[in-house]
Symmetry: C5
Subunit: 337 residues, 5 copies
């Protein structure tokens, strides 16, 4: 029913379910391997955060779907990567899917993160193991931050916030590359610059496609009338909204810059080529009349009085020097040189 | 009253009406040739799916129109291909028209599919015989899937879903061509690449024209307050909506890529031509001063002291070599070579 | 108060008022020359269609305005051509103004058509005599079509429908020209192609300006809550709406194609010119070194040992042949030839 | 508080307040120099139109502001030119500010017109003395037109209508220039054409900036629920709306035309330059091989058998003629000539 | 939680809290260094304006946050520069953040200004010490302006108004640079012009990013139903709105101009280069045939009758002069010279 990006189920080898259960006073942490072990946490009053770090074991996702009464289409969305960021509301839970970016060796690496937010639980699904959520775990363990006193919606907010904060790292890296390219363009634009501009443009467009839907996601989150979201959380969501707008702004700026750089590149290359052609053509233009003069006195007519004159040769040489000087002055005056 | 694409009724030779009638327990399948034989199915409680696989026999369409009380304008829409995808709601039925794509030998083949969705029946009209709907028939026959327990709106959903899923196949083929073209452009851009870019662009625009109206169609379907659509189906329609947005996204990406490729092509061709011109001009530029020197000593003046010198000839040759070397060094320093 | 396109009242020599008055059973047809003769038809229950085929006689329009209580601004709109298509609703009548296109000898000819739709009458004003509405007259006379049983709003719909159907003829002609131009561009793009592309583009833009406002006109017609429009007519209006969207789609497609063609034209011309320049430059490049060699042995130094050698001349000829062959091989390897 | 365009109060030397007070029967006209003299007209039932023809005397504007209870910010808007066209509604009056254009010697001259519309009075402020409103004065004096029987809102409508009608004059002049430029471009595009295109483009953009806000102004005027505007006037305002849309349409068309002309210009110039270069290069290409041949037989080898042959010289001449003919035929066949 | 622009807390060395407390009769002014000293002003009926001129001392901001019950996220927004202009409404206060521009030595300098508007107090936070708000202080001290009789919302309006008025200064400077660049482009476009166009374009885009969000900010301010804003203030806010629209208009105009200038630049450079190439090629074209003729009579054939003729040499010279004259006439007629 859905488009599978590479038509292949990705296969991982570890399976790990990480559970944190906390109230304002207590924090309980376990790692389990079967869904059964999650059941005791299900109806607790405390906030339970279940984190699944790979999507290898389809059974586990299905079992969680059954246990928490998740709609079959949502279960499918979790399993299949390549989703567009979105939020879907249901009576007893909300579903978020986002795209997480990491940037290493000039290559964008991207991963799908699904978040199920129930009244007293959060379930997160990551495509690959990773430590992005660690700061939140640390804050929970410390028991002294706001997060422990608040319900699951604040945890959901914190998770989304940390994912979006991650975008700034990539933006910064893009920003550096854009600046670097601009410097190069001013000094010595090469064919490689063109390809780099295009490759960076493609990366920016790729990021852009993930960022724009975030705006709608956060708007839905903010305007949601779901009972699962407390009013005090709305201000925090508005805060993420501002970040998303700022990210979009920056992405659009990079896009504009890259288009402008393309123009600069093309006109630089053109200019340089024109300069070369101009100099070369000027050289030819200076020598062609001279060659004509030499040709003139290379003719074999019997009666060419100049040829017998003593000062004929030096005179011709002088004429040539005068011609060259005249042409050079003319070209300089016309600002062609 | 309507625009007929080629001003000609298309003529087919087979006529075939295929009927599946099913409940959660029973599945009845027949092939009939006259509309009369459809009458017994009309008022049954079970879901009846009537599939007509060519639009040759205009009478059959008219008769179905009469039998099921279809508005004459809708009957006309069914008959005449070239419709824009849309959904129209009536009291006792809804009408959907979509475009189905198949892609063979780099040629897009397109076909109009009309779906009439009544309370206990679905009538589908295909322009050409085809087996696109077979997976749904198989599921119905298997009697073990959701589809058998649900009413006609779920069948309509399934049909639209399978048509839209088909778009991914074409997108994938386009994706491959886009990548292939990009590879070629980096290595050896030819005149043919330009025509291929334009031809692919045209195909993408063609697809785009069919995809954009789908968005409105699905939105109408989802927001419809028609009693014919059960609430549980809405989540499924939302799911198609996500697919349509994803398809639109991809189509727009391809469009952008193709525009970018045009730029790369033009600047590559330009670069290559400039390179050639540069090398050729440099060759001329080196030989023109030399030719001038030869001309100089080809002059027939009686009094040219250099001509009688023993080392005159080797000296001129040396001067020439020095000139050439100097020019080459100069050009290399200026990075013109 | 209004802008008169050529600041001149157009003058025609015939005046003709054609009246058809019909019910489902009866059809009465007359041609009159004065407005007085229209009065008896005014309050009849039957549908009366008054057609005025030129706008020469301003008095007639004024008199009709008075007789049917038309707002003075509307009377002015009827008289002055160059209106933007629009619909205006009043209590006792609706006013439509459209643009009719005819296409002869590659020239677009355009004409303003005004339609006043009262409860039991329709008044149409055409700028020039013409037979566009004849099919509707024939249908009315035949007394066997839907149109006779329905009220004036259906007649108004039919008139608008036939005007819009007329656009397809022009679109088809444009389509042919676009295809023809594309063929020419691939084979032999000339300066004339450029002007043809621009002229066709201008025509398409001209049509576009008349087509876009139609969308609003039809939307207003469909959504109108005027009591003059019966509910059964709405489905028909929706049908025109689909046509208008289709026409707009096609116009936009042509626009895109023409822009694309401009790109192809420019790069073709550029390519061709570059090809020529390349070949010419290669010829020069081959001969310039040869000419240098001939210059070398044309020098008049007394001591040039090669000149006295028996095989000097053939050797030089051989060197020249080798040089040429080498250059040609080099150019071929570099794919410059 | 506001941006003053040239940071200078413009200084005029005449001050003149022109008052027309009229009912359907009576017309009273006076010219006064102080505001005091306006007081008697203030509470009359008749419509009073006070026209102030320069903004020199800031005191007068302030006094009028006090007398008619105008909001201080509006008084400031009246004084400071460079306002964007807009309408502002207050309880007892509405404020309109528009831009009036005149076009002389290819220079656009622009002026700000403010209109205050009270229940029984209209106050107009013009930047410079002018006779644009004369036709309305004449109509009022004639006592036989609609205008005298209607209240102040109709006068306001008439004033705005006449200002907007004025735009057509400029559009016509632009239209002529656009056509003229197009003719020139087809025949002989020069550097001046480029600057004229850009200068006209700038003028069109300048007009555009004044025209677009008019749309909002008129929409606000039409939709206004102010008690100062009678229902019968709304139809007239809708009429201006149509004009504004038409003006916007025309302006956009000119903009598109000018962009298209830029393309034509650039490709014409390019074409022409390419043509020249082609012809020149062909000439060189023909003579370079010939020069090579002459060089060949200008060599001083002792043993060159051809040199002693009687028919050597005519043979070489023949070879040259054949070469030239062959090259010309080749170039013609390739359509390079 | 938020993106810190340079990842560094900016460090300033002075800390200064400036307080003005005023009613229509009294004005009290103090400078304090601790928040404690602000407490007595907190619940006064008079309007208290607390201005903090650097963001160095994070503690002060936190303490103010606590004292006035500001939401922690807002406190963070105040501390971290790089915010997008916005307004946020709370029950007891509104929060505004804007960007202030100063322009010195062709460099844009930008600073974040935060305004907290409570019922009887305003708190402003500036990034750097500055005297932008001095005119307002003077007006307050003078005790004779409107501002003293009105509540805190009018003070907030005045502050925002003065910040936005500041934009006009930068716009004016941009306007001068744009005009200057245009003049240069017409006379002598250089490579530097290109970089200046791009640099100015970048500055305009930078300003634009700060200006567009203002529109939303002011709209929110105007439409706010907050009890903190009195109805009489709305007219003033509408006035700022007009300014913002005008600023946006101007910015967009500059953007368009700069794009147009890029076109002019490119075509100027191209034209100039083409002119040079043309002249140079014409020179070559004239001399190449001449050189051929000299080559002809430089051949060493024994039997060349012309060589022995007395008038051979002058004849050849004459032929050459005729050839040159003919070519020059031809080129002039073709308008190539």
């Amino acid at each position: 029913m859905r488009y599978i990006e590479n038509n292949l189920w990705k296969v991982y080898t570890h399976k790990m379910i990480h559970i944190i259960d906390y109230t304002s006073d207590t924090v309980e942490e376990t790692e389990v391997t079967t869904i059964k072990e999650c059941i005791p946490f299900k109806n607790r009053q405390s906030v339970t955060w279940i984190n699944i770090e790979n999507l290898e074991d389809v059974d586990i996702i299905d079992q969680i779907g059954n246990l928490f009464n998740i709609h079959p289409l949502i279960v499918e969305d979790i399993k299949l990567t390549g989703q567009r960021p979105k939020m879907e509301e249901f009576d007893t839970y909300n579903y978020f899917v986002l795209r997480m970016f990491s940037y290493q060796n000039k290559k964008i690496d991207t991963e799908q993160v699904s978040i199920i937010m129930g009244e007293s639980y959060i379930i997160t699904f990551q495509e690959k193991p990773g430590d992005v959520f660690d700061p939140i775990r640390k804050r929970i363990r410390a028991k002294k931050y706001r997060i422990n006193t608040l319900s699951s919606d604040f945890l959901a907010y914190s998770l989304i916030d940390i994912i979006i904060d991650n975008y700034y790292v990539i933006l910064e890296s893009f920003g550096e590359q854009v600046e670097h390219l601009e410097d190069i363009l001013l000094v010595n634009p090469t064919k490689e610059s063109l390809h780099e501009i295009h490759s960076l443009k493609r990366k920016v467009l790729h990021l852009r496609r993930s960022v724009w839907p975030l705006r709608e996601l956060i708007t839905n989150f903010e305007r949601s009338e779901s009972e699962l979201i407390e009013t005090s959380t709305h201000q925090y969501i508005r805060d993420i909204y501002d970040h998303v707008i700022q990210i979009i702004d920056t992405v659009e700026t990079y896009r504009d810059s890259l288009s402008g750089m393309l123009d600069i590149y093309l006109s630089s290359v053109n200019n340089r080529m024109n300069e070369i052609m101009k100099v070369l053509t000027i050289i030819s233009t200076i020598f062609i009349p001279l060659t004509f003069i030499t040709g003139l006195y290379g003719m074999n007519f019997k009666y060419m009085p100049e040829l017998s004159l003593k000062w004929g040769y030096p005179a011709v040489i002088s004429i040539m020097i005068i011609t060259v000087t005249g042409l050079i002055i003319y070209f300089k005056r016309k600002k062609w040189l």
